[in-house]
Symmetry: C2
Subunit: 347 residues, 2 copies
């Protein structure tokens, strides 16, 4: 048996209807809902076929049909119309200062949760190139010095160092010169022992503090690697009865508590084909999710880029009967806007 146009139309009608209502869809409903002008009996025959083919199932003998993962998959792959979304307000969110990236991400993920009414998550962008732009050591008080580290993409990090030895202003200036001539523009993975030992030699009696700074750089990078995940709208799962029962809700909320594990969900393989909006948008339906706790959910992920190779992932989690058209549309639109803001700059 194979999928003909009429079957596809019926399947689409079933799915559309189920997305709206969340109730199993009967043959009579479809008979009226579509413009196919077929009696419920005919629809019943077709539905029996669609069930045999695995696109829909009955929760029990005398109920209507609901889509299977395979059904949704077919819908998403061939019938979905990702409409561009109005996201006027988001522009304000995105235009927040670059040096308040965290706030921006928090606002963004909150905005998306409110807009879509699903649970949302976003990973902080991780630097692809990891190039050092600027390093500076400053005296804060007698025994504490502040190392400021700026990376490509204007990621700024601070580390406070406890230092016993006194360093006079002139030496400090020299050390800073040394740090910047050696490290500026350098890719982090290229900082090897020979460079370090050369710097230490040049620093003379202050080689200790140079080690400290370099250690700090190492730490900062490491820190950046266990990626931060921001979430919002986890309470939205209570909007969908199929997720709101105790078992499910508990599992999902727990999953959202474990940011680290969540992150792993987001950094799955992404299609690297092409450029521009729509790239890297992925839909995981029900059982397709890597995580067991998400087996009754669908997850839509999208990569985003803030320029300078700063790349992260957004995830939107809802019930299987998520409004895929809207969610994918929203993410596409968001990507477009980000492109407008950051993409252009790069050229």
């Amino acid at each position: 048996m194979e999928m003909d146009e009429r079957k596809a139309k019926i399947l689409q009608a079933i799915i559309r209807n189920y997305l709206e209502t969340g109730e199993p869809v009967g043959s009579r409903t479809i008979s009226k809902y579509t413009d196919l002008n077929l009696s419920s009996a005919t629809i019943r025959n077709e539905m029996a076929d669609l069930e045999e083919m695995g696109y829909i199932v009955q929760p029990h003998t005398s109920a209507g049909r609901i889509p299977t993962d395979k059904g949704y998959r077919f819908y998403v792959d061939t019938m979905m119309e990702a409409k561009e979304q109005e996201l006027a307000e988001v522009k304000d969110v995105l235009l927040q200062r670059q040096d308040r990236l965290e706030d921006m991400l928090r606002s963004l993920v909150k905005f998306l949760a409110k807009d879509t009414q699903y649970a949302t998550m976003i990973t902080a962008p991780s630097v692809q190139k990891n190039r050092l732009k600027f390093v500076q050591l400053s005296r804060v008080d007698e025994h504490s010095y502040l190392a400021v580290i700026v990376m490509e993409g204007n990621i700024i990090k601070n580390r406070l160092l406890a230092v016993d030895e006194a360093i006079d202003d002139e030496t400090l200036l020299k050390l800073n010169m040394l740090l910047n001539t050696q490290l500026s523009g350098m890719a982090v993975q290229d900082i090897n022992l020979s460079i370090i030992s050369r710097m230490k030699t040049q620093a003379g009696i202050h080689s200790d503090i140079i080690s400290n700074v370099i250690d700090a750089v190492g730490e900062v990078i490491a820190e950046d690697e266990d990626l931060q995940v921001y979430t919002s709208g986890t309470d939205n799962i209570f909007r969908y009865p199929e997720l709101a029962d105790q078992q499910n809700a508990s599992q999902l909320i727990s999953a959202f508590e474990e940011k680290q594990l969540l992150g792993n969900l987001l950094i799955g393989e992404s299609d690297e084909s092409g450029e521009g909006p729509g790239t890297g948008i992925q839909v995981y339906i029900g059982g397709e999710n890597a995580s067991q706790s998400m087996k009754d959910c669908s997850v839509v992920t999208a990569t985003y880029e803030l320029g300078d190779g700063l790349r992260g992932t957004i995830g939107i989690v809802g019930p299987r009967r998520m409004d895929y058209d809207k969610v994918v549309g929203t993410l596409k639109t968001l990507q477009t806007k980000l492109d407008d803001i950051y993409g252009r700059k790069e050229e």
Copy 2:
């Protein structure tokens, strides 16, 4: 009617038992559970009295008794034994570097959630004195300069400034000198217009950038004022059936999503009497909570201090039948450990 010793013992037995089981407690149970050697009939009489006095109620005519808010209040005020808790691991958490305060708070709140099995929250400490310690402007690249602002308590903030005019190294040095001589040690609220205009005069043609830096300082302070709240263990509410039903769970999870509102819960009035561990620990039982969404919960709050006037609040949220002894004990112990680490330093 008044509370005599025997009534108190019975009330205590009822509460202890209810805390454990979560089931209404009957007279027979108490008759056996206590060493009072009284028959269930006598207990029944006493229970009737306790009910009349408002310490306990029956969920329905033929059920055992459960404590009222007033009953818990009596227990907490007069019978609780806040035992010191073993919190060996927490020391590692607390000893994290000061310049990674956020990480420390996240770890701490997570630790407490795991230890107590309740939902936890913590506000980032807000600076009481708000004194500037150090300000520095550095060139990152041609058009962007970095303002580093360090406040008393080693709170470090960064702001990236876009600057059109070129500033040579020497000028930069001078500007930094100017910034620090004028601003170091200064309380933020004392930076007034006359100081600003004096600085601008001294900066000459570079007065613009000085304004920028001062604006940045203002922003940084403002930013610090809308306090960050970290939460953990919200999934723990599902451990307690009385909180886990859809209505309640949904409300609570929503409340925990709204960090800002949560914060208000935490910064209610605190008893300012005395010093040392146990100070500023507050218990809010059921309806005593300011927030409607917490009406079926009890909240225990404690202030904490990291030295240098850095003060914040911890909150632990559980069911009414929370293990008050343990929670209060845990918070006291935590305060002691913080005192050990930070308190000593100050003298």
